[in-house]
């Protein structure tokens, strides 16, 4: 026995959530060749087929690119702080990819480890994640190499499996998932199944072994020569989570803002003295791989990558975790 829902009912539900004051985000076509997770204006905005995965990730809605931490007013010599403690409105992320949802437990660790990040956690508590199991994979996908697969339920409150002809099986994994779908689905005999994952592209253990033993190695320089040091890979990655805290100045209404940061920027580790412990791009690329395959796993027991392939799809010069990991693995 299974629970199923039709695409039109699903769109209707999304519209209902929006009308009920929830913020609903999901894939939407922004330009002919660009699909992004966006806040949806209507159920019809939701794009369910015809693309591999959005160019951004759902972290945008939990760990946004700019988050106001607090405001301030300057009165003569004193400064008045204005807390930003407004509760986040309830939010639903619909048709997330499994490789997006799986990144949330990864972020949870980071934002609750030595410091409980109230902004992230507030959003997290107010968010329900409805994942759509993949029905295709492309040459950049490698979820199976990092222990996931196209039907992975990790991080999801509910997961949908396409049954064809506009029907989906709904499996609720948490209370939040049930709260959205209970009473909205129909009973059926049909059950969905995700597609088989992409063939394993590399052995993550071997990558970890390499990065922990080849800190100084010509490999990094050779590999990183064409990396231009932008933030594209990190910013479109569902799991990357480095941030900076900046003063957005009076033009922005005097706010202190948390913004994304990337280890690929040359300024990321620049000291005030002018010294930079990661002086060239090779050391920055090494850091990215080291963090994903060794540092984070040592601390939290899992890889800091879900194999979504966004870094490769978005990199302006055709790099990305997959190409480095395969190069390491296959020499």
């Amino acid at each position: 026995m299974s629970e199923i829902i039709s695409q039109s009912v699903l769109r209707g539900l999304a519209a209902e959530w929006i009308a009920g004051g929830k913020s609903v985000a999901g894939p939407a076509r922004v330009k002919p060749d660009l699909v992004l997770y966006r806040t949806l204006r209507s159920g019809d905005d939701l794009l369910l087929e015809g693309f591999q995965r959005p160019s951004n990730s759902i972290k945008d809605f939990l760990f946004p690119k700019a988050e106001k931490l607090y405001g301030y007013k300057i009165h003569g010599n004193s400064i008045e702080l204005i807390e930003n403690d407004s509760p986040e409105p309830a939010q639903v992320i619909i048709a997330a990819r499994p490789c997006d949802a799986a990144a949330l437990p990864i972020l949870d660790h980071v934002f609750n480890w030595d410091f409980h990040d109230e902004f992230y956690n507030r959003r997290r508590a107010a968010t329900t994640v409805v994942t759509l199991a993949c029905s295709a994979h492309d040459e950049n996908c490698f979820c199976t190499s990092v222990g996931l697969d196209p039907g992975s339920e990790r991080g999801s409150d509910a997961i949908l499996f396409a049954l064809g002809s506009g029907q989906y099986e709904v499996r609720c994994a948490t209370e939040k998932g049930h709260a959205l779908f209970d009473g909205k689905t129909e009973k059926s005999e049909r059950t969905g199944k995700a597609i088989a994952g992409p063939e394993k592209r590399f052995d993550a253990k071997a990558v970890r072994a390499f990065v922990t033993t080849h800190f100084e190695d010509p490999f990094w320089n050779e590999h990183a020569l064409t990396c231009i040091g932008c933030g594209t890979c990190a910013f479109s990655c569902p799991a990357c989570h480095c941030f900076d805290i900046v003063d957005a100045g009076p033009a922005a209404g005097n706010a202190r803002v948390k913004t994304w940061d990337s280890c690929q920027f040359s300024t990321f580790t620049a000291h005030a003295s002018g010294h930079n412990p990661r002086p060239v791009q090779a050391t920055r690329q090494r850091q990215r791989i080291l963090h994903k395959f060794a540092i984070y796993p040592e601390k939290f027991g899992e890889i800091l990558c879900t194999g979504c392939g966004n870094c490769a799809r978005n990199c302006p010069v055709g790099l990305g975790v997959l190409s480095v990991a395969t190069e390491i693995n296959h020499g």
């Binding site: 922004v30 330009k31 020569l225 231009i228 932008c230 479109s236 978005n314 010069v317 055709g318």
Partner: protein
């Protein structure tokens, strides 16, 4: 509306220290009355009135901005105002493309003796701004008609005939030690080849998008020794500009020019450069599609056909997607500053947050720092993960440089760069 509630505009005046400031002072000592709406900010010279300041004034809530300095010929530093005039001519075109209300920015020349002109300009500009009302449209969203999206690359790979010759030539250059590295294209993107036998990795096909000249500035590449760089005719234009800006010397690189068959990018449809002109060696035969006769893509015309408020709404929507990954800057051959203005934080010049305001500030700075320098390689637009049509801003300034100064970046190695030079008779019709 009662008198007390009537709208009083806030006006910021950036004035030069030597003429307009003294003119305003004279108005005061001569007891000439003018509206108290103006907050004067004194700078050494109009040449030092950065365009970012004009924008910043509007951002912090000014309803109008006045910019004034010495008359042409009278600048205390000889030519500051001639430089300023050039920049204003171009800057206004950028602002217009962005949909900023040009009626809210007034440029004037007011000398130390012209207390009366100061009085007049301030009075009239204040009245006009009062009539316009508060500047609420700055960075406002709203409906706008669609600007056609640029056509994008076809996914299939089509190899060009010169590929094998290219490999041969590069292999030879490396084997003979003429160069130590070759910056070229590989199957997935740019590759840096240092061994002759690796020249086999080089490809030449319709997916050779990158402007590889951007790598010449990178110290990791420089440290490898003399480089050969593969350029398409459009990429070669950046070498022309870089040389003028003393960022590149021909003797430092071996330029391999590829006669171009097109790389399926929007720029290719209206490209007129089909064969490199200055390369040390040129390979292949040009065989691209016929260039369109219209010089600028229709989408720019479509944008400019909208009313300013709709243009602003369009850009707000575009910029709101910007994540400040700076891929647009990093791929750009003309963005070579050691430390970009957006990365400066002592003090912060550009709001670093990827918010609406912070993004406008970034995009205005990016586009204007490339005014008359951008060679239209289109890499910034291609690199942007948010699909922002940055080329539209570049095109606007490209047209402005051509229209006002007859300058086209990357074409004539002898022509003086637009920014950094001036003539005594640069013409405009907007400075009072």
């Amino acid at each position: 509306m009662s008198k007390a509630q009537e709208f009083e505009p806030k006006i910021v005046a950036y004035v030069c220290n030597w003429c307009t400031y003294l003119g305003a002072d004279l108005a005061g000592t001569a007891r000439l009355e003018y509206p108290p709406n103006v907050r004067i900010i004194r700078l050494p010279c109009t040449g030092r009135i950065d365009f970012n300041l004009i924008i910043k004034a509007l951002e912090v809530g000014a309803d109008g901005v006045l910019v004034s300095g010495c008359h042409p010929g009278d600048c205390h530093y000889t030519a500051g105002n001639y430089h300023a005039r050039r920049r204003w001519i171009l800057f206004r075109e950028l602002l217009d493309t962005l949909g900023i209300d040009l009626r809210r920015i007034q440029f004037t020349w007011i000398s130390a003796a012209e207390g009366r002109k100061w009085q007049q300009v301030v009075t009239e500009f204040t009245d006009q701004t009062r009539k316009l009302g508060p500047y609420k449209e700055l960075y406002a969203t709203g409906p706008f008609p669609d600007v056609p999206a640029p056509e994008t690359a076809s996914p299939g790979v089509k190899s060009f005939a010169a590929e094998s010759e290219l490999r041969e030539v590069c292999g030879k250059l490396l084997a003979e030690g003429t160069v130590k590295v070759v910056i070229g294209y590989g199957a997935r993107g740019p590759v840096v080849v240092t061994r002759a036998e690796d020249a086999e990795r080089l490809v030449w096909n319709n997916r050779c998008f990158s402007n590889l000249t951007a790598y010449l500035k990178r110290k990791e590449i420089k440290s490898l020794g003399k480089a050969a760089v593969i350029v398409k005719p459009c990429d070669e234009k950046s070498l022309v500009e870089l040389e003028k800006e003393a960022q590149f010397e021909r003797k430092d690189a071996h330029v391999i020019g590829m006669a171009c068959e097109g790389v399926d990018q929007p720029k290719c449809a209206h490209c007129t450069a089909r064969t490199p002109r200055f390369a040390d060696v040129t390979l292949g035969v040009e065989a691209g599609p016929e260039p369109q006769t219209s010089p600028s893509p229709n989408r720019f015309a479509a944008l400019m056909a909208m009313p300013p408020a709709e243009r602003m709404a369009f850009w707000t929507e575009e910029f709101n997607r910007c994540v400040k990954c700076y891929a647009c800057r990093q791929v750009c051959p003309m963005c070579y500053c050691e430390r970009c203005i957006v990365d400066k934080n002592r003090p912060i010049a550009i709001d670093p947050a990827p918010s609406t305001k912070g993004n406008f500030a970034w995009h205005i700075a990016r586009a204007f720092h490339l005014a008359g320098r951008c060679v239209g390689c289109g890499e910034c637009s291609r690199a942007c993960p948010a699909g922002i049509d940055l080329a539209l801003l570049n095109i606007s300034l490209h047209i402005a440089a051509q229209k006002n100064f007859g300058y086209e970046a990357g074409i004539d190695p002898k022509a003086e760069p637009v920014i950094g030079s001036y003539t005594l008779h640069d013409t405009e019709a907007f400075i009072r």
